[in-house]
């Protein structure tokens, strides 16, 4: 039937893949799975290409009913998962059939769950991606989060997935807090006083309620900017600079009090000083922190960021080998 029934949409569940690239210069953020590793591994478990459409649930996961024989896998946050009320293992490929219902209980740690179904969530490809960008209502399933009692299209199930294949514990991401976020300091860190930069790196910041796919607003300290003459074209807030492009993962501090880490659905440029950028690999980490959790920033150089990216790629290939065994 190639359909998946959404019995309950959960709190904020969207269709995502590995992202929509090539339009950032036009103001289009990449969207895509916030925790890329978990999304890619979920796809691997069910025999999908790495960039197939998956479901990303937030805090309260969806309730899903299958209409035909599929492989399904759940990754990401630590949350009890059931099929027809029976407890099942996450990070494991499972066979399900028509009428089977997958459901989540309350999360224990982490924030986002990923559900991959063999064949993939086959929503239309928009600008090269199935990812949902809800702020403008494009991509994914009708450009929005899932609601109760609707139907999602699935691709034809096929593939060579093996039921029971599981990701070893050592290759599942850490969800402990405070989450350490490796950060390349810049582009506008020159706007901070020396003391403020040290304080930024030395503070355990708390994730506020304003933390979603657009960005994470943090609280816990106050940062001072150096005195300066307001440049032409810059706003009057000490945190303002002349407009620049914002890297995904960049950190701005409007008013000096509440740093915001810009994430997958964020604005692509503007006039706030970006004092650092969380390295791409550790965006997976912040994606699994929830309101109330603590994060801290550690300064790393670009070589470290690139090495971390290579390491993640190698981890993904190790998972692929483990699953294929």
């Amino acid at each position: 039937m190639n359909e998946l029934l959404v019995r309950s949409g959960g709190l904020y569940t969207t269709v995502q893949d590995t992202g929509r690239f090539g339009y950032y210069h036009m103001g289009m953020p990449p969207s895509g799975a916030m925790d890329v590793y978990s999304a890619v591994v979920a796809n691997m478990l069910v025999g999908n290409p790495d960039d197939a459409g998956v479901l990303e649930g937030t805090y309260v996961g969806p309730r899903l009913e299958f209409t035909d024989d599929r492989m399904v896998a759940v990754t990401g946050a630590d949350v009890p998962v059931t099929v027809n009320g029976e407890s099942v293992e996450p990070w494991t490929a499972m066979r399900v059939g028509a009428g089977d219902v997958l459901e989540f209980a309350m999360i224990r740690s982490g924030c986002r769950v990923y559900v991959a179904v063999s064949g993939g969530i086959d929503v239309p490809v928009y600008l090269g991606s199935r990812s949902t960008y809800t702020l403008t209502g494009i991509g994914g399933h009708q450009g929005r989060k899932l609601v109760d009692d609707e139907t999602l299209p699935l691709g034809a199930a096929g593939g060579r997935a093996r039921g029971g294949a599981a990701v070893p514990e050592a290759l599942r991401p850490a969800l402990d807090v405070p989450a350490e976020l490796r950060t390349v300091v810049g582009l506008c860190s020159y706007r901070l006083t020396e003391g403020a930069l040290a304080s930024f790196l030395g503070t355990d910041w708390k994730v506020t309620k304003d933390a979603d796919r657009v960005g994470y607003r943090l609280r816990g300290g106050s940062l001072d900017f150096t005195e300066r003459e307001q440049p032409f074209g810059a706003g009057s807030d000490p945190a303002n600079v002349v407009d620049l492009g914002y890297p995904v993962g960049s950190i701005q501090v409007p008013g000096g009090d509440e740093p915001i880490v810009l994430l997958n659905d964020a604005v692509t440029g503007g006039g706030y000083a970006t004092i650092g950028t969380v390295i791409s690999v550790d965006r997976d980490r912040i994606a699994q922190t929830k309101t109330g959790d603590a994060v801290r920033f550690t300064s790393v150089d670009l070589d470290t960021a690139l090495a971390a990216r290579r390491d993640r790629r190698e981890r993904i290939e190790r998972v692929r080998r483990e699953i294929a065994r």
Binding site: L11, T58, Y59, M106, K209, D210, D212, T291, G292
Partner: protein
């Protein structure tokens, strides 16, 4: 002790709007599925619903407090 727990983290509110009365008072009887409070997170206000019927013995968090997933919000007495 039977309780109603927060399903998500966020900021807890007992009333639908600042000028409105609280959803339920201490000592009031509630039915399963009834909205008893709001939790604000990710720029949305989400209804917290009773998962079982009973009497509200006590609210364990104050209006405007931050709550975590799984935190006890209401202690229930006998229905």
């Amino acid at each position: 002790m039977a309780t109603i727990k927060a399903q998500m983290p966020g900021v807890f509110y007992r009333r639908p709007a600042p000028e409105k009365p609280v959803y339920v008072d201490d000592g009031e009887e509630i039915s399963a599925g009834q909205t008893i409070a709001l939790i604000e997170v990710m720029k949305t206000f989400n209804e917290l619903k009773a998962d079982a019927a009973g009497t509200v013995a006590e609210f364990l968090v104050a209006d405007g407090d931050e709550v975590d997933v799984g935190q006890d919000i209401v202690r229930l007495g006998e229905a």
